[in-house]
Amino acid sequence: MPIVYYLYLSLALFCIGIVGVLTRRNAIIIFMCIEIMLNAVNLLLVAFSKMHPPKAGIDGQLFVFFIMVVAAAEVSVGLAIIVMMYRRIHSVDVNFLNRLKH
């Protein structure tokens, strides 16, 4: 497959993630859109790792593996923060998080 194809696919996926972050107010959905963006980057890294066939791509695929590891840690801490916020203000609406301002 031409690499341009994967470039456009992950670009579209990344922009869908950005639009989701900008248009939703539910903190959990915003978090899921961040996961979509991470996956778009992972897909592009895997496609790039197959560009120079003999051996060159191993580093790229291990990089994707470490991105997944960090994403899993990030999700556990982030969801704990969201649960704590829900316990305080009984909502997951990010608009209620502007209280640091006052």
Binding site: M1, Y6, I16, T23, C33, F65
Partner: protein, 165 residues
């Protein structure tokens, strides 16, 4: 047009459609279920690229662990269509416009460059577990161990944050 191109094309359509449904659907539970479809189709892309290890890890870690965590939290909070907060339509329009203009700018930048590189599909032994495991436990053994410390601290952090004070 051979069978690989048809496969990759249909997988891409499924990926983009389900990712769109994640941000469109009003019910958060439906969003999570569509996100699982997205992750499975991305795993399909990995299999076509012969990155078998990453395909399996993607299914286990993302579709298995992370999505169950999301679903669990959403059901714990009893979120549904009625409690879902909505932005007003001008803010939504602004968000779609800014995301779309980012897409437009990068597509325009890619369009002028004449990229002829090919990604190798259905062959190559880069993505096999043996190859990646040897490299992971020799060259990358220090980052691997550090990631275990990261996991431990994330676990402790989640417990500390979630604890009632």
């Amino acid at each position: 047009m051979n069978i690989t191109q048809i496969l990759v094309g249909s997988l891409s359509v499924i990926t983009l459609f389900s990712a769109l449904m994640v941000i469109i659907s009003r019910n958060p539970v439906h969003s999570v279920l569509w996100l699982i479809v997205t992750f499975f189709s991305i795993s399909g892309h990995y299999i076509v690229l012969n990155a078998q290890f990453l395909a399996i890890v993607n299914i286990i870690v993302y579709a298995g662990a992370i999505m169950v965590l999301f679903l669990f939290v959403i059901m714990l909070m009893n979120l549904n269509r009625e409690t879902e907060p909505q932005k007003n339509k001008w803010l939504k329009l602004a968000g779609v416009l800014s995301g779309g203009s980012l897409l437009l700018v990068i597509v325009a930048a890619l369009h002028t460059g004449d990229i002829k590189a090919m990604a190798q599909v259905k062959e190559g032994d880069i993505g096999l577990i043996g190859t990646l495991g040897k490299e992971l436990f020799s060259t990358y053994v220090v980052p691997f161990e550090i990631s275990s410390i990261l996991f431990l601290s994330a676990m402790v952090g989640a417990v500390v944050i979630g604890k009632k004070e």
